[in-house]
């Protein structure tokens, strides 16, 4: 493991293999809470935070509990329970110690349990045989990629409201088309994978 490999992991997670635009992980919150820019930022920050923590904890659980006791077939069940408990724990912790942040993130925290990007990053870490530091870096930068995507998308969507479009495309379909065009532009980064 070197700085270069960490750099290429983060570049990959943020731009080249963006969680939303090329892996389709976490689309539900991406499309659901992107109507306004400030809520989108809140959701993105919360997801980044949880993804970083979740990849650290699931990696440890996988390495020291599941592999050690030969329980790998329980992976999905254990991971989702760990994530649900983690989200609950973060919620209680923030409520007690950082009430301002808690009110800012508010309703988004519990929603994160069922965000497939979080469970996805935990499973992908194991699949690609990352070590502990690589997993954490991948989790955090994956979250940053999500944050970037949702912020860009929300700002485009705020303008979309004023544009005219065919009646049947109003609302959700036009948002999906917007997301599709953004995915197209993110495809431009795919050449970067040759580097590093």
């Amino acid at each position: 493991m070197s700085v270069t490999s960490l750099l290429s992991i983060s570049l990959g997670a943020i731009l080249v293999n963006n969680f939303i635009f090329s892996q389709f992980l976490g689309c539900c919150p991406f499309l659901g809470v992107s109507k306004k820019l400030d809520t989108a930022v809140g959701m993105g920050v919360a997801v980044t935070f949880v993804m970083g923590l979740a990849s650290a904890i699931t990696w440890l659980v996988n390495q020291y509990i599941l592999i050690r006791f030969n329980l790998l077939y329980m992976q999905t069940v254990v991971f989702i329970l760990v994530i649900a408990a983690l989200v609950q724990f973060i919620e209680m912790f923030l409520q007690k110690s950082m009430p301002t942040l808690y009110t800012a993130l508010g309703i988004y925290l519990p929603l994160i349990t069922t965000n497939c990007a979080v469970l996805g990053v935990a499973l992908l870490n194991i699949q690609s045989n990352y070590n502990f530091i690589e997993s954490v870096v991948y989790g955090i930068t994956g979250g940053l990629g999500f944050l970037l995507a949702i912020v860009l998308f929300a700002s485009v969507r705020e303008r979309n409201v004023f544009a005219e479009c065919p009646k049947c495309f109003e609302g959700f379909p036009i948002a999906l088309i917007t997301a599709g065009l953004m995915a197209l532009s993110f495809m431009g980064f795919s050449g970067l994978s040759a580097w590093g």
Binding site: I80, T113, L119, L123, I177
Partner: protein, 212 residues
């Protein structure tokens, strides 16, 4: 209990993907070939039906506060069963679906139906709800994968028909490659939802006209 109405709701008027807008991630991600679409659709159908039955059976003994956690555990168990069986019996499919197979746990369709339907209704009604909602999901996946596979690479039914090779309808180099890429998933789903909205408003207008 009205099975006919449930059938119509699951497939058309309350379709999980096109109307309730649930479970988008897997819908867009894995519909690159007929084989994947069919496999994913059937897996979700099975898991949804089984978890619906169990959840509606235990709904009276589960405390209100921890119901979501209980739902997730039940769903995760069935997902693990299906995941392991696919790994054993259909390894190609398991490889093609990759991380999206365990991710069925967090597929909003299953948790959404558990919360919105099974928690309030009996076992039999929930079982039918699972079957019909699962069918609705499968149909959307199949339509999307047929469109994307046909326009994207000129093939039809790769991995299922014609001894696994599928039918090549027009040469592959003439296909719109973009449809098999992530962008195609977004665009294709947008067009399907738009078509659905158009059809629903049209039938609604017709009904109102005939009333007046």
């Amino acid at each position: 209990m009205n099975i006919g109405r449930q059938f119509k709701e699951g497939l058309v008027t309350n379709n999980p993907v096109l109307v309730q807008l649930l479970g988008m991630c897997s819908t867009m991600a894995i519909t690159t070939s007929f084989f994947n679409g069919l496999g994913m659709g059937l897996s979700v159908l099975i898991i949804l039906t089984l978890s619906n039955i169990i959840i509606s059976a235990i709904r009276k003994i589960v405390p209100d506060k921890i119901r979501i956690a209980m739902f997730i555990v039940v769903i995760a168990c069935f997902v693990t069963c299906v995941d392991l069986s696919l790994q054993a019996f259909v390894p190609d499919l398991s490889k093609a679906l990759g991380v999206f197979l365990p991710l069925i746990v967090v597929n909003c369709i299953i948790l959404g139906r558990a919360e919105a339907f099974c928690y309030k209704n009996g076992v039999l009604a929930s079982a039918f709800d699972g079957i019909f909602q699962g069918l609705g999901y499968t149909v959307v996946l199949l339509v999307m994968s047929v469109i994307r596979e046909f326009l994207g690479s000129g093939a039809f039914g790769g991995g299922v028909f014609n001894g696994g090779k599928g039918f090549q309808i027009f040469p592959e180099q003439f296909g719109a490659k973009i449809l098999t890429m992530p962008v195609g998933g977004f665009l294709c789903l947008a067009c399907l939802i738009a078509a659905m909205q158009w059809a629903l408003t049209k039938t609604k207008n017709k009904k109102e006209e005939s009333k007046s």
